[in-house]
Symmetry: C2
Subunit: 154 residues, 2 copies
DNA sequence: AGCAATTTAGTTGCACACGATTAATCCAAT
DNA sequence: ATTGGATTAATCGTGTGCAACTAAATTGCT
């Protein structure tokens, strides 16, 4: 109850992630412009190029997105011909999402475009693995904080 | 044109920022629940607690947000009594955004709540300054890539 | 078998985020 | 003094992101 100084550093850490995420999003938006894909749509396709078909739930647990986000996103991808959605015969609650032949045909082109754009960057002073590990550690820490902990002092 | 392998590592870096940003957002959403503030609203107030008044443009350049995002956000903050919006007399194009007495009164309480929630985390294995520096370096690299570079090979 | 609890995807409502456009205002150069 | 260009905030349209809820289907328990 005594600490009334803004945590500049911690705020900066969150703000850094917030800003970096937006910048990356913008970067991919430009890189993927030839395909009319957004970053969330791109990572959805990435997951499906690796494993297809997947149910909406499986996709969601890979991408950390719920059906409220995925359903409209998948409808847009379907409309543009990248994926198909079909209710499972075995369990009619599930919807199987699969890449289309068009998506398979375009896959290498998308990979090449993204790789070429990434090549424009030079991560010289960046220790890639350490950075990734630290981010994961921060995320792990965020996961350990339960909503309960936060609520109890509200 | 030859590299058709997905850049798992780079995708992972972007995805790590993307995921961490969402987790942080959720963390602050919970922490700020007693005040009915979102994270973007909170950083807007942080900026204004430091400098008030500011024009929408000045706020936007601090937070990297444009008027399309800020105008509705500021209207919500105004409606809830945190800020005031008044068109400048000197230059009627500008709108001066200022914290209200209510916001000043609540400031320390918000700081304390955020600090208490951050205290729940332990950034043990994390070298805070190095992490921040690396994130800034990545952001700097993203800034150097101009849209032109990305467009030319589209 | 029958029914309650669970699971799944979809829907709704709200809040960003941003590109593109618009309207009002200011400024600068004639 | 006018006017053309620049600046500023607001607006519009699209696309997430998520909490809360709904409807349908499945599972589990007796």
């Amino acid at each position: 109850m005594s600490n009334t100084t803004p945590r500049r550093l911690d705020d900066q850490l969150c703000f850094a992630f917030y800003s970096a995420s937006k910048k990356f999003n913008h970067f991919y938006q430009d890189a993927l412009k030839p395909f009319h894909l957004t970053y969330p749509q791109y990572i959805t396709l990435l997951a499906l190029w690796e494993t297809s078909p997947m149910t909406v739930r499986e996709l969601g647990s890979h991408l950390n997105l719920d059906s409220g986000t995925l359903t409209p996103l998948l409808k847009r991808l379907e409309k543009q011909g990248w994926i198909s959605r079909k209710r499972s015969d075995q369990d009619e609650r599930q919807v199987n999402v699969a890449v289309t032949p068009y998506a398979l045909e375009k896959r290498d082109e998308v990979y090449a475009r993204v790789n070429n754009c990434i090549d424009l960057m030079s991560f010289d002073g960046v220790d890639y693995q350490t950075l990734l590990a630290q981010i994961h550690q921060v995320m792990g820490e965020l996961d350990t904080i339960s909503t309960q902990d936060l609520i109890q002092e509200a």
